[in-house]
């Protein structure tokens, strides 16, 4: 941040907490930026002459006689074509040793797209992972998180999805990313030869937590630049949104807000929606798709963060380890893609919707059979067949290491149906059974 003439300077701070400081000043705009002892801060509350600033890097070591300079503007990012291939920090400064970004300065956190200017998303994104393509088909313009426990390979799956998704730009917003995972992403993108279409905004766990609050806005401002100005299909990866929400809670707490469920701020829903709703399919082509990660604590989706997220996003993807095959699978019960209805059977083969539902119904029967087995009851012939089916279904389709084109996925399901079941047990429309049934 360069200093300009006539900027307001104050040299007395009244009040300092871990993340905020309060001082007296006039003619300050709400959400205006300031530098407190050289650290970036933003106005979060004005009450008469009292201005409360949120210091992104934390207030450690700041003196009550430190210099505060008001910058007279809201947070912004320099955007331009030169962003492609760059790794930046939360403030949009290069961390890859390259030159500063050239382009136009754009305010971040822009207003929302007028809903009547959106187009209904209808372009499927194929990932080759059958657990996604078959049961939870992704669509350009969608927003969807992985709900995963910290020990699950969510960043790996996300990187795979990103690289196979055929996007024009991939924007990575890393919040509280471990340095190891940061290097993993960098290496994956390099190996795939995709570095030229990556833009990364990185806040690692080494950086101050409140800085994370800047990451989604920066990432999405860059995304809007490419989607609007260049009509590109942009994929935004946000990991980990739970750590983002934790940072929100820290700031709310410092500002004496009454916490709602799970110590989260009452505005959590709106705060998250503001980010996720940036996902859009524009009428004239450009799109922003958001794939995020929300880490859970022992699979608990009733916690305020995953719960609010679930109500905002268009579905969620669950990873689960299948104890029988030892593979990580996309859980067909708890995962959901709300937008799949717009493409399945329309942009994919006509049998897709019914095949998908029938397989999940049979998989549910298998789960019941397993419960029976665990409770020591005798299994029927049908129960045994559903269990065999579930095993094959896990291995050949749901496992995250599957990489199949759409048609092959559907054919595989029909083949499994034929292998384990009779036609009437599958309960699919007769006209489709007649076309695709494999004995």
């Amino acid at each position: 941040m360069k200093l300009k003439p006539f900027q307001k300077r104050i040299t007395k701070i009244e009040n300092i907490t871990k993340a905020t400081c309060t001082l007296l000043a006039n003619e300050i705009g709400y959400e205006e930026l300031a530098l407190v002892d050289g650290r970036l801060a933003q106005v979060v509350k004005i009450k008469g002459p009292e201005i409360t600033l949120q210091v992104f890097a934390g207030a450690e070591g700041i003196s009550n006689y430190a210099e505060v300079v008001f910058l007279g503007q809201a947070p912004s990012l320099v955007v331009g074509e030169k962003l492609a291939g760059r790794f930046l920090d939360a403030y949009g400064r290069p961390v890859d040793g390259g030159p500063n970004i050239e382009g136009s300065e754009t305010e971040t956190g822009s207003t929302s797209v007028n809903p009547v200017r959106r187009r209904r998303p209808n372009i499927p994104i194929f990932t080759g992972i059958a657990g996604i393509d078959l049961n939870n088909t992704l669509v350009a313009g969608q927003k969807i998180p992985f709900f995963a426990d910290p020990d699950q390979p969510y960043n790996e799956v996300m990187a795979t999805v990103a690289l196979r998704a055929n996007a024009d730009k991939i924007i990575l917003g890393g919040m509280g990313l471990t340095h190891d995972d940061y290097l993993f992403f960098k290496e994956e993108f390099r190996r795939a030869g995709a570095l030229n279409k990556i833009i990364a905004f990185i806040n690692t766990s080494e950086n101050p937590p409140v800085e994370r609050l800047l990451i989604p806005d920066s990432a999405l401002t860059a995304a809007e630049y490419f989607a609007v100005n260049h009509k590109e299909n942009v994929l935004v990866l946000l990991t980990d949104m739970t750590l983002y929400a934790d940072a929100l809670a820290i700031v709310a707490n410092r500002m004496d807000q009454i916490p709602s469920k799970d110590s989260m701020p009452g505005s959590l829903y709106s705060d998250l929606a503001r980010i996720y709703e940036k996902a859009v399919q524009f009428k004239d082509g450009g799109s922003i798709t958001i794939i995020a990660v929300t880490t859970l604590s022992q699979g608990d989706i009733t916690h305020a963060i995953p719960d609010n997220t679930g109500y905002i996003t268009e579905g969620q993807l669950f990873l689960r380890k299948d104890p029988e095959t030892g593979k990580v699978i996309i859980d067909p019960f708890r995962s959901l893609s709300r937008l799949k209805q717009l493409v399945i059977g329309k942009k994919t083969r006509q049998d897709h919707p019914q095949v998908m539902n029938a397989a999940i119904r049979l998989y549910a029967d298998a789960a019941e059979a397993r419960t029976k087995m665990e409770n020591g009851f005798d299994l029927t012939d049908y129960d045994l067949r559903t269990l065999q089916f579930a095993r094959a279904y896990n291995q050949q389709l749901l496992s995250i290491d599957v990489n199949l084109p759409m048609e092959a996925i559907l054919d595989t399901v029909w083949q499994l149906f034929g292998q384990f079941f009779h036609k009437e047990e599958v309960s699919v429309k007769d006209e489709l059974v007649n076309l695709y049934w494999k004995d």
């Binding site: 959400e31 008469g48 809903p115 719960d307 679930g310 019960f333 029927t380 047990e425």
Partner: protein, 590 residues
Amino acid sequence: MTTTGIIKGIIANLVLIEPNGPVRQNEICYLSTGAENEKLIAEVIKISGNTVFAQVFDSTRGIQCGTEVVFSGSMLEVYLGPGLLSKNYDGLQNDLDKLEGLFLQRGKQAYPLNDTQLWQFEPLAQPGAILSAGDWLGKVPEHGLQHIIMVPFNWHQRLTLQWVAPPGHYTIQETIAILTDHNGKEHPLNMVRKWPVKLPMRAYRQKLRPQKLLETGIRIMDTLHPMLEGGTGFIPGPFGCGKTVLQQSIAKQADADVVVVAACGERANELVDIFAEFPELVDPRTGNKLIERTVIIGNTSNMPVSAREASVYTAMTICEYYRNMGLRVLLLADSTSRWAQALREMSNRLEDLPGPDAYPVDLPAVIANFYARAGMVELNNGKTGSITFIGTVSPAGGNFKEPVTEATKKATRCFYALSQRRADSKRYPAIDPIESYSKYTEYPEFAASMAHIAGNRWLQQVQQLKNYLLKGKEAADQINILGDDGVSIDFHLHFWRAELIDFVLLQQDAFDTVDQLTPLNRQQFMTGLCLYICNQSFMFDNFVETRSFFKKIINALRQMNYTQFKSDAFNSYANEVNQLINLHLALQNN
């Protein structure tokens, strides 16, 4: 003289103002940001000493202390007149199609009506008539409906109609009637009315009890837990249980004259769904496009939070306006939890003492008052009009023991509980048949009305269905505890009868062009068929045989659901069902 004020503080979208004159609670004021044509709208929500607290319906970025505020003297109002149908508004009734640019710009407004379009007016009242608020002056056709031009709803005195315009084409701004009050003062009227959204619009003779079924074509609703014209209901459910799909099905299929969809703090892509589909879809009852009977109020989750609260009131006011024309209006609000959360955010910034889960203490009262604006009314001229209101609730963590769900349950008569278990096994719509209820089934008026439409035995049949479902659930619990072999074959029979009703009547494919809408006569036919099967005294040797028999029969019945009613294909599946039954009966009797 208008009151003005100076901004003294800003906390997110709450501003503190020092006024120089009188200010009313809920009065609207305007903040000038300095930018050209940019005026931010705010609503007074608290007055304390010489400080006025106002919620800004927009982003407050860049606003400074010392900014001037102008008070309008009126509360938040909407414009009512011909041309509302098929419009897409935001929560403050800005016409979204008229706003320029890809992105919504701060402080920009768009007039909701069209002042230059001509409407074909026809008078309904004769000069000399004594009229009062809500009385009918004339009508104009609007998308196949008769849009009634009424006496302003806030005129408390009786007035004499001095002149009414002859039939012809007029704009909404032209004078179409002149009324005189008892002082002889003349009041010219055009076709535009205004109404403050926070106040219920009355101007009717009395409120009645709902009695007539509101057909939705959704079997589990119409048959099992009916919603009535002028009724209230709500749909709570964890995310991913199909709340939105269910609401959209109701919006598409319900037998109403006008449908107002309030997207309150929900996903923009869901609105886009409606924008894309409704202009294409045809209302099977009128032959008109669905969009022609629909008004959309869209305050999506990324739009300013405070406008979210306004959006539900805006929607309700538009409903009340059409209800006063003697129409059957349906209001769908998705989701009322977001609205409650907006209230919570505001109450938090005001530093009010919090109630449960940090919601404001008066939340139950606010919700109850709002639902009470729905209902069936008798108008001044003896005709009836109704507002049916179905809201969704998004309980935190899917747990129904939370303030919004509990408060809404007390305020409504129908409860459509979405169950995670049903959704997980893809049994859609995931309405729990046993936990859900419609209080209206206890109304004698409803029983009489149903007997007239569907015959005397209908409600008995529905009760039989419910009994079978309950028995089936008990049997399923027993089988789970004791195992397939641990219970007698009767338990399996109970279980499979309930499964049959579940698979054939309760589950319905909202995305299949045939199955998505089942008219009442078809529902009666299928109910009769299912009961006929359930009432047979089948005998089986073992539970495996029971299952395979019922699976076959369910499969054939589901095929019937996918084919046109009474078509050849339908009849041939019906024959298949009969053959399966007869074959089994013949075998067991030998």
